[in-house]
Amino acid sequence: MQTFDLEEKGLRALHETLRSVGPDSNETAWEVVNAKGSHAIAVGLDAPLDVTVRGSTGYYCGGMNKQATIRVDGSAGPGTGENMMSGKIVIEGDASQYLGATAHGGLIVVKGNASSRCGISMKGVDIVVHGNVGHMAAFMGQSGNLVVLGDAGDALGDSCYEARFFVRGKVKSLGADCEQKEMRPEHIEFLKAILAEAECDASPEEFTRYGSARKLYNFDIDNASAY
């Protein structure tokens, strides 16, 4: 494994280094030390790298990620995994607000809790949170899956489109146009696979599914006052 001291060499050098790893290189495993809450660590990667960040990260760690696996051995700041396209992010601690915002693909796993607006406007990413999520989770979520092993805060799935939400604990309140849905066999199958991948010891049968009631999709004159 290659070690990169972020404090000593700086953020620009980190990205130059990670982006210069060629397709035939066998130096794909990297450890970033002395993160100390720095912003924008391991952003815009586009190679099957395995990057482990020691310590907590600041804003936007792993943003726009493609292919890479990024592990945060600490807690992650706001906007982690924003607009991720593919690959995987694993956060050992907690995640701050708007985790995985607008992310199109890949998997984000939070071993602790995620705070407000987790998965806001998600567009295909899968997010698994071992703990709880805060308010307005998956606001305007368009596709992908948010799996919460703990509880969800206020207004889960507000104004959502076709993203799916699976919550094992309590939901404080559902957002506008979000409703409880039946768990069908394909949902159990999906959960079985993703829980295994996210290293969760939970049974798919314990989850409740939520999703869009599809009443806010199109303009309806009776809803004019709500727009």
Binding site: K36, G37, S38, S56, G58, Y59, S75, G77, P78, G93, D94, S96, Q97, S115, S116, R117, G134, H135
Partner: protein
Amino acid sequence: MCGIVGLFLKDKSLEPRLGELLTDMLITMTDRGPDSAGIAVYGNDNEGRAKLTVQSSAPDADFSDLDRDLGKALDASVSIRVKDTHAVLDLPEDKLPQVRAVLRELRPDLRIMSAGETIEIYKEVGLPEDVAKRFDISALTGTHGIGHTRMATESAVTTLGAHPFSTGADQCLVHNGSLSNHNSLRRELARHGVEVETLNDTEVAAAYLTWKMQTGSTLGEALESGLDDLDGFYTFVVGTKDGFGVVRDPIACKPAVMAETDQYVAFGSEYRALVGLPGIEDARVWEPEPATVYFWKH
């Protein structure tokens, strides 16, 4: 965008380092607020004595013989510590209620930054590092302190627009965010006889809390009612003589991170601000919940 830092010490052995630790935290938050910076520090309690921090744009003239003139007018022993544009006046506690009126006569251009038994507030326009240096913040000792770096949105970049704002004896407030109903609230407060000096939104919040407490609320109750009456985005950190509080608005989009160990409770707008604290690796680190009042007391 603004930066907030706060440190509430539980372990007395860290008290000599309060200013130094807060200075490092404050400088880390420079890119969240390069316009102005300020700090409130709660120093050691001197039985029967009180402190008044004043600021002047003409310190040489205003501070010259101020201790002698004020002592004569109050018929009491007054001492002065001048620090750049600020001065801390030390006077008997029982003279505190009348000192404002006396000062207005003696030095009409002085601005009162803070008053109380232990609080000192220093704030000026400029980069946090420069402001900290001007006031030698790193040499300050004390039990707790709050700092702020400002990126101005709601009003001009001036000394009076800088944070912390005093909300009463030994009380202060810093704010990250912007209030949207501060004009109507300013008019409402004026109807109750509460004066607000600047067009700054945070000063209105400070005046609101002061007014609530003058009309019988505790600080906790005032912060709770603020959740109903203050509209906008805010993370507030407040200081009292022996306490330290945090509250975020219900939407909570302004960042906040807290850390607690056996030695301290710390606040930072970002985790970055906390990384230099002793034992941070093993601290309990969390984000304060929205619309929840947190308070620690000695």
